[in-house]
Symmetry: C2
Subunit: 339 residues, 2 copies
C-alpha cells in the first residue's frame, strides 16, 4: 500500500526510480530498520539491499524482497544497465555517496518519503502513543518534583525506567537542567545538584517511533509567572491547529502571546516539529516553514522563555492533528517542588 | 594548533575555505559540540555560526569566535562576496544543503577533518580511556555471567550504571543477544530471558568520546571452541598492528585464522574500525580499506562467527596504535555462565 503511494508520487514527479539510504525511510517502506549500510531501490519492483550482517533480520522483517549489499560501486554497475530515466535521490544523501554512485545518472533530489511520513497511519499513531505512555509513566515513577540528587542522577533514573519499559536508546540526549543552567534550551544534565527551576526534556522509543515531552518544575512566584505565560502561549497555539492552516501560523500565535507579555526576544527557538520515526521530522512549526498542516500529523508545541544568567522554562506537548489538534500527552503542566 | 594543521591541509589541497557542518567535526575544531544547526567556516580567521539556542553554550566553550546562525540562505549571501577560491565541503554534507548553499561555488568534497581526527592527541586518548573505564566498570558491576532476567533488563542495568558514571546517551544501541538470537551480529536486546551463549556489545561516552567493547559469555564446549578461535584470530590480528601497515592487512590476518578453522564464511563483517568522537570513524579495518595505520589511531579488533539458526559469538577490544598495538581494554575475554 505504501509502495503504491510512493510509486504514484514518483510518477507525478517523473522519476523512474528512487534510491533510498536513510534508515528511517527504509524502515517506513519495508518495516525493517537497517543497522548498517542498506539501499532500497524503488521501481515497479522494489528491492532492498542489506549488509551481510543485517541479512538475517532483514529477511525476517522486510516486506520487500532482500538481496545482499556488497558495495556502492557494485550497485552502480548494476544500475548502469537498468536505470534509464530520472533517478530520485534523497535530499539527505551525502555528497560523498552522490559522487560515488549517482553523479553519472540523471538525478532529482527530493523528499517524497519524508513528506509521506509526515501524516501518520493508525498503526503509527498507536506506536507513538505507546512511546508517550512509556515516557510519561517513567516520569511519574521517579517523580522529579521531590527527587533529591544531581541532574545526572535524575536523567539516569528516568532513562532506566524507560529502558525497563521497553524503550531502546533515547531519541535525543535527555535534558535535565536546573537553576541557572535552565536558561540553556539544550542543556544536557550535569553533576550539579538539582535546584529550582528544573527543565526536563525527554523521550522514549517504541518500535522505532519516538516521543518528545518537556516539563518544568518550579518553586516561586517569578517562575510561576513565566510558566503561566508559556502555558497560555501553548494553549493559544494548540487552539488554531487544524488541517489546512500554515505550519508557520502556529509559531506566529505562540510567539505573539509571549511578545504581548514582553518576553518575545527570549523565545529562542521555533514552536514545534513533527515526531515519528525521527524525533525531528516534517512539519516544522517555525516562521520559516512553508508547509501546511495535514490530518494525521503529530507535532510538538513547545514555547520556551530563557533569561540568560537567571533561568529558563519550557513546556512541550505532543498533538495529533485530526479535525482539530488533539493533545496526546497527559502530564500536568504546572508542578511545584515538594520539599 | 588544530586550526593551523587544518589550514595547512587546506593549502595543500588549494582550498581557500572549508565549510564544516558535522557536529563531531565542529567539536573537534572548536571544543563545542552543537545541538542544533551550526556552520564552521575555516579561513585564515575561523568563524563559527551557532543557532540562537546554542549561543550561550557556544560562547562559553568554543575556542573560535562565534556569531549567530540565522539561515543557510543568509550565509550564502554573505559568502558570495567573501569566498572567491575553491570551497572545501564535507563528504558528509547532504545533497539538500549542497543544492541550497554551495552549488554556485567552486567546491571540493573532502574528508580533511575526518583524516585528522583518525590520529588522536594525548588529551583525546585520556577521554577515550575514561569512556572505556566507565563501560568496563559498569559491566563488572552488573556481572552478566550470573545475571538472571531478560536481555532488555540486562541492557537497562548496564546503561543505568554507565549513565550514573557520567556517560550521556550510548554511542550505539546496546546489543544484548542470547541463545539463537546471538547469531544476528547487531541484535538489539529483547524481552527474551537470557540463555547461553550471550553477546554483549556496548559502549559509553565521556566528554563526547566513545568506547566500544564486546564480550561473549558461554556455557558449553561447542561455544568455547568457537570463542577460542575468535580469541586466537584477534590475538594474531593485534600482533601485526603497527604504524605504516595497511589497515586491510589486519582484516586479512583475522579472516585467515578463522578461515583455517573452517569458519571463514561465518565472519559476516569487517575486523574493526576507528573510535573517537564517533563510534565508527577512520580507519576502517576491512578488506576494502585503502588506509594505512598511523600512530595515535584507536581501533577496534572484533572478529565474530555467526552460525544462523544456532548461535553467534564475537570478541571486541580497543587498541591504541603506538610502535605496536597497545590494548586499552581490560576485561577477560573468556567467561562462563555461573549458575
Amino acid at each position: 500500500m505504501k509502495t503504491e503511494e510512493i510509486i504514484e508520487k514518483m510518477n507525478q514527479d517523473e522519476m523512474e526510480s528512487l534510491f533510498i539510504l536513510k534508515p528511517e525511510n527504509i524502515a517506513y517502506v519495508t518495516g525493517f530498520k537497517p543497522s548498517s549500510t542498506a539501499v532500497l531501490i524503488m521501481k515497479d519492483e522494489p528491492l532492498l539491499f542489506a549488509a551481510k550482517l543485517d541479512m538475517e533480520a532483514a529477511q525476517a522483517q522486510s516486506c520487500v524482497p532482500v538481496e545482499e549489499f556488497k558495495s556502492l560501486e557494485e550497485l552502480k554497475n548494476k544500475f548502469k544497465e537498468n536505470l534509464k530515466g530520472t533517478m530520485g535521490i534523497e535530499n539527505s544523501m551525502t555528497v560523498g555517496t552522490y559522487k560515488k554512485v549517482c553523479e553519472d545518472f540523471k538525478t532529482a533530489p527530493n523528499d517524497i518519503i519524508e513528506r509521506l511520513r509526515a501524516s501518520k497511519s493508525k498503526s503509527e499513531i498507536i506506536k507513538i502513543k505507546e512511546a508517550i505512555r512509556i515516557a510519561e509513566e517513567s516520569f511519574k515513577k521517579i517523580d522529579p518534583s521531590h527527587f533529591s540528587g544531581s541532574e545526572d542522577e535524575l536523567a539516569a533514573e528516568l532513562e532506566y525506567e524507560m529502558r525497563k519499559a521497553g524503550s531502546v536508546q533515547t531519541p535525543f540526549e535527555t535534558i535535565v537542567a536546573s537553576g541557572y543552567r535552565s536558561s540553556n534550551p539544550h542543556g544536557s544534565s550535569s553533576y550539579k545538584r538539582l535546584e529550582n527551576p528544573l527543565i526536563i526534556d525527554w523521550g522514549a522509543y517504541y518500535q522505532n517511533y519516538a516521543s518528545d515531552i518537556t516539563r518544568s518544575i518550579i518553586k516561586n512566584k517569578e517562575e510561576e509567572e513565566i510558566l503561566s505565560i508559556l502555558i497560555d502561549a501553548q494553549k493559544e497555539a494548540i487552539k488554531v491547529i487544524k488541517p489546512g492552516i500554515k505550519a508557520s501560523h502556529v509559531d506566529e500565535v505562540a510567539r505573539s502571546v509571549i511578545k504581548e507579555y514582553g518576553y518575545g526576544e527570549y523565545f529562542l527557538h521555533s514552536t514545534g516539529h513533527g515526531v515519528g520515526l525521527e524525533v525531528h521530522e516534517k512539519p516544522s512549526l517555525s516562521i520559516k516553514s512553508d508547509e501546511n498542516l495535514e490530518k494525521g500529523m503529530v507535532v510538538t508545541v513547545e514555547p520556551g522563555i530563557y533569561l540568560e544568567g537567571k533561568f529558563g522554562l519550557r513546556v512541550e506537548d505532543m498533538i495529533l492533528i485530526k479535525n482539530r489538534g488533539k493533545i496526546l500527552t497527559n502530564l500536568p503542566r504546572k508542578s511545584f517542588f515538594k520539599d
